[in-house]
Each structure stands twice: as C-alpha cells, then as structure tokens.
C-alpha cells in the first residue's frame, strides 16, 4: 500500500465522490482534459474538450462530525474557450482546454490560467455576497425612477445576498503560438508565466497581452530536418530564472534565463541511455516524455513516458535516480497499441504534498501510486462499482502472463478505451482527484 508522507502507516484509499454523467455513452464535449488543485487545495478545477471549466470547492469541515474531509461541490462553471477558425490556414482551432494552472492567491479573488491550442486566458473568479440597495434614481429592478417622484435622498446600503461566483476573463494572450500549446506554467516571481508549443516556449508578463518573449526555439531552418518536439515545460517552484522542458526524444533540458535571452543552449541535459535489448520499431515513441513535474521541494523532477515514471535529481544528468514501471506488460503489445493509437496517449503524473509518493494513470481506469520511501506500489481502480462513500478501494493486479489468479485481470481483458490520463493530488492532504474519460473521482484516505 502506498504510504502517507511523513508517517509510517499505510494509507487506505476510500471512495469519496464522483462527478459527471453516469451514461456509458460519452459526449465528446464532456471528455475531461485537465485537472488541477489550487495552491491551498480548497479549489479543484477541471477543463474539458468542450472548452468549459468547472471549479469545485471543498466545503469547510464540520468540526463535530468529521467522518471525512470536506466534500467538493460545484463552485463555478464557465465557458473558457470557444471553437475558432483560422481563415488564413483554413484550420479549425479546437476549444479543448489543454491545461489549467492556478496562480498563487494574492487577494480575495482567485485567478487561473487556462489554455487551448492557441490562446491562453487569465480568469478571475470572485465572490459576490452583498449588493447595494436603496438607490435614489433607480428602482430595485433597475428601472429608472421618474425624477419628479424623488423627494428625499438616501445613501444606498450593502445588504447580504445569495452567494454568486463570477468568472471573468481578465487577460487574453493570443497570437503567439504557431504550433499547438501543450503547457503553461506560472513563475514563482508571481509576475510571469511561460507557454510552450511543439517548437517554441514564450515568456509572458501577466499584465501584458500584446507581446511575449520567445525563450526557446527549436524549429529547424529546414522543417524536413525536424527530429524532435517539445512535449512539456515547467518553471522551477522556487528559482524564478529556471525552467525545464521535455522532448519527444526522452530528454529534459534545464534552462537558466540569466544565461541568455534565448535559452536554446541548455544548462543541463537529462538523458538516460537507451537499453539496447528493448529496442523496437516503437522505441522512439515510447521514450517520448508526456509530462514533467518538479517536486514541491524543487530538488527533483519527475517525467512520464509511455511505460514508466522516472525521478531525476537535478544534480545528476546522466540517469534518473528512480524508475517505476507503470505497465511493463504492455511492452509486448506495442504494435497493437500503435495500431489503435493508444501508444500516443499522454499520461500525466503528480507528486503528493510531501514528495514521498507519486501517482500516474493507466488503462482500464487503473491508476498507480509509487511510494518512494517504502518502494511499494499499488494499483487502484476508478469505478462506479465502489460507489459507497468511505468504501476502501481494493488493490488491483494485472496478470501479465501465465496462470491468472483469482481477482487478477489479464492483459487481454484490459479496456484500452478506459484510460486515466489526468490525476491531481491535494497539496496538503491525502485527497486525490482522478479523471476517467468523462467522470471525476475524488478519493480520500480513511479517517478514523
């Protein structure tokens, strides 16, 4: 069982909630494309293929009856991006939300960045729970009063009203990316953020929308010489001058913005030599990194490729310090997975708050956790069958070959249409959000 950070006791994960339609028939617009907790963990945002953002808020615990941590309920829903048409290239621009990143909270309002393939938007989410009443010139419903009927003056007062949560777009950062945006990352300086597409990374100031700095450009002069693309990028959590980007070739480059304006030359290159015994037609595809995440401490970073999760120490470039196999039993199935396009699935990964456990998704609605201290791992399933609150999840096991034991599932029975690509871990507590195709599951550790 995956261990809790800091303690020695094993966690038991329990079902808490599931959000989304029950239908087996999934509407394409409802497909969840990103999941992210804010910095306090009180808010949980999801983005979907239809361009919508749904934010859930954790209700503050009932101190008397704390059988579980607070539940997450819908706080705000808004349409972040709409489909657009690029007339010059005759291309439709999808409204799918690729990433959401919360900004650290500075005042009463919450801010998040959301992006589709081409445009990043800064959204302000604010609460309104009072409204002014007693205007002199207007009736309560907003109609203007006949001035001749105004015989006295009064001062409007603020009266409580039902809580209203408003989302408004404060900035729109457009027209800076020729290729599809895959990452955004807010900087620890609280002023800038980066956006990365297949070939370029741009640095923005949150206040300025009409220009950005290009800090990485790997586009070759002759596009026929293209051999690798940028797959993910992230700012270091503490050093505002440092960021990393991963490539389709399985390398990670760490760049220092103090070194030069255009960070085409990396400060560090992280790459593990290929194991020649594993070589196949698909070696290049499966080494492509789909996600890179710094640990909260900033000392480590984690990368996800098709079959494994690797932890890198920033001080050691030539190999990862830890490697965890997510679903090694798929290595012999790569040709079929290429055929049905599953080999191109981009799995994300995440750290727990204390950086002691990492989590990532797999197929058949399974997700995996690896405890870095105990070296134990666990496979769990996100399924409506375990639907009762506080039901402890049973560990799952895939039988790779040979005789299948009771309760094991064979590789050939796995449902490759049920994939968990997006997972998130509460920054402080043992609460996780796991997205299946169109449902969001929330699991918590068992509270005694």
């Amino acid at each position: 069982m995956a261990g809790a950070g800091g303690g020695g006791n094993d966690i038991q994960w329990c079902f808490s909630q599931v959000k989304g339609a029950v239908d087996d028939d999934v509407a394409e617009a409802d497909i969840i494309s990103t999941v992210e907790f804010n910095h306090s963990g009180e808010l949980l945002a999801t983005g979907d293929k239809g361009g919508r953002v749904v934010i859930f808020q954790q209700e503050q615990e009932n101190k008397i009856q704390s059988l579980s941590r607070g539940e997450y309920n819908v706080y705000s829903t808004f349409q972040s991006h709409e489909p657009e048409f690029d007339y010059l290239k005759s291309l439709e621009i999808e409204e799918k939300i690729n990433k959401i990143r919360w900004l650290p909270q500075k005042n009463a309002a919450q801010f998040l960045l959301s992006t589709n393939d081409k445009t990043i938007k800064l959204w302000k989410i604010s609460e309104r729970d009072k409204r002014p009443e007693g205007y002199n010139l207007k009736e309560e419903d907003g109609r203007y009063r006949d001035p001749s009927t105004v015989t006295t003056l009064r001062v409007p007062v603020l009266r409580p009203m039902d809580l209203m949560v408003e989302a408004s777009p404060r900035r729109i950062f457009a027209n800076a990316h020729t290729y599809h945006i895959n990452s955004i990352s807010s900087n620890s300086d609280y002023e800038t953020y980066l956006s990365a597409d297949d070939l370029r990374i741009n640095l923005w100031h949150l206040e300025i929308t009409d220009r950005s700095f290009n800090i990485v450009d790997i586009k070759p002069a002759n596009m026929e010489e293209l051999t690798e693309v940028i797959t993910a990028a992230e700012f270091h959590p503490n050093s505002c001058n440092t960021f990393v980007y991963s490539s389709s070739k399985g390398t990670i480059r760490l760049c220092d913005m103090r070194a030069s304006a255009l960070c085409d030359r990396h400060s560090k290159l992280f790459e593990e030599p290929e194991d020649p015994s594993n070589r196949s037609f698909f070696s290049e595809i499966i080494s492509s990194i789909s996600d890179v995440k710094f640990s909260h401490s900033g000392r480590y970073m984690m990368t996800r490729d098709y079959l494994s999760v690797k932890i890198w120490d920033l001080n050691m470039e030539n190999r990862p310090v830890e490697t965890y196999q997510v679903h090694e039993y798929l290595r012999s199935k790569l040709c079929s997975l290429y055929e049905n396009d599953c080999i191109f699935d981009k799995f994300e990964c995440c750290w727990n708050g204390s950086d002691s456990v990492v989590m990532t998704g797999s197929y058949n609605n399974f997700f995996r956790m690896f405890d870095r201290n105990t070296k134990r791992d666990i496979t769990l399933e996100a399924s409506r069958e375990n639907n009762k609150p506080r039901t402890v999840l049973k560990p799952r096991k895939v039988c790779a070959s040979g005789k299948r034991k009771k309760d094991e599932i064979s590789v050939d029975s796995l449902d490759f249409n049920k994939k968990i690509l997006h997972t998130a871990w509460h920054p402080k507590e043992n609460i996780i959000a796991v997205a299946t195709t169109n449902n969001l599951y929330i699991f918590q550790d068992k509270v005694n």
């Binding site: 599809h180 690798e228 040709c335």
Partner: protein
C-alpha cells in the same frame, strides 16, 4: 523474413495514420505525425533492407552489432552518403531528397510500375505546400490501396513483380511523409 512482414504491416498502418490525420479537427498534430514518420522511416529501412535498418530491431545474438546505430538514431545518414562526401563536418540531418546512388537504383525493366514513376519525381524545394500534397494524394490513391491489397497476400508474396511494385512507392515515401510533418 518475419521482420520484413512486420515492417510492411507497420508501413501500411503508418501511411493510414498520416492519411487520416489530414482531415483531423484542430489541424495536424505535429508531435504525433513526427512520431509516425519516425516509425515509418524505421520500418521502411527494415523492409527495404537498407543499411542501418537493423538498428530498429532488437539485437540478435551472434552477428556483430549493426554499424552506426548511434549516428542513425541522431538522424544522420550513414557515412557513405553524399553529405559526407561533400565534407560537411557536422552530422547532417537526413535529407530525403538526396538519395545515395544505391537507393536511386531504378527498378527498371519491371512492367506495371510506370504509372507510379511519374508520382515519384520530387517536386522542387520551394514548391513545398500544395505540390507535395497533390503528389501525396496520388501516391495514396494508388500506393496505399495497393499496399493494402498486397498485405493480404504478403505471407505468400514471393513474386518479384509484386514486391517491386511496392518498392518505388516506399522509396518515394520519405519526402512526402516528412513534408506532411513539415507544415
């Protein structure tokens, strides 16, 4: 032999992916198409028995390791290339239009190949966008369905006529598949 069969199958599947990618909503995905073109290139090498094709395969016990795998993985062509002959010091990326003399061997004298030969001529460098796509469509029109047809009989395909019909299509694939990537 089985590697060639698998390579052939992978080439067909890859072509299908590149073809269907053109109609996708949201435009071509550069990352996915790049990966598909890399697989296509490896499979093509194995299928045509080109030097370095073995680099895509797991090492077999006994025979010496394949030459220049490292350079090939970095995208360089084998040393016996035109670029090396030109004396360029740095590793040249694979330039699909310039083929070594060995590759350009026209499988002349085989009948039934003629219609595809016209499509083979690479369009001029500057005329990238529309020229390549039109050629690609014509290739897919004949070559892809042709490949599919061949695939069913692949297990028994030993007639030189069948195999050679595919080869010019496969040889001409590279510029167009990378051209699709390069949009």
């Amino acid at each position: 032999m089985e590697f060639r069969l698998e390579a052939h199958r992978i080439v067909s599947i890859s072509l299908g992916k590149i073809y269907s990618a053109r109609g996708q909503r949201g435009g071509l995905k550069l990352h996915k198409n790049l990966l598909v073109s890399l697989v296509l290139r490896s499979a093509r090498r194995v299928y045509l028995g080109e030097p370095g094709g073995e680099c895509a395969l797991p090492p077999r016990p006994g025979p010496p390791p394949p030459p220049d795998c490292e350079r090939l993985r970095r995208g360089c062509r084998p040393l016996a290339s035109e670029a090396a002959a030109r004396g360029r010091p740095e590793c040249p990326a694979e330039s699909p239009r310039k083929r070594s003399a060995a590759e350009r061997d026209p499988a002349a004298g085989y009948p039934g190949k003629k219609p595809r030969r016209e499509a083979e001529q690479p369009p001029p460098q500057e005329d990238m966008e529309t020229g390549n796509v039109a050629s690609l469509i014509s290739i897919f029109g004949s070559g892809f369905s042709g490949l599919l047809g061949k695939e069913r009989g692949a297990a028994e395909a030993t007639e030189p006529g069948q195999v050679c019909c595919e080869q010019p299509v496969l040889r001409s694939l590279n510029p167009w598949s990378t051209a699709i990537v390069a949009f």
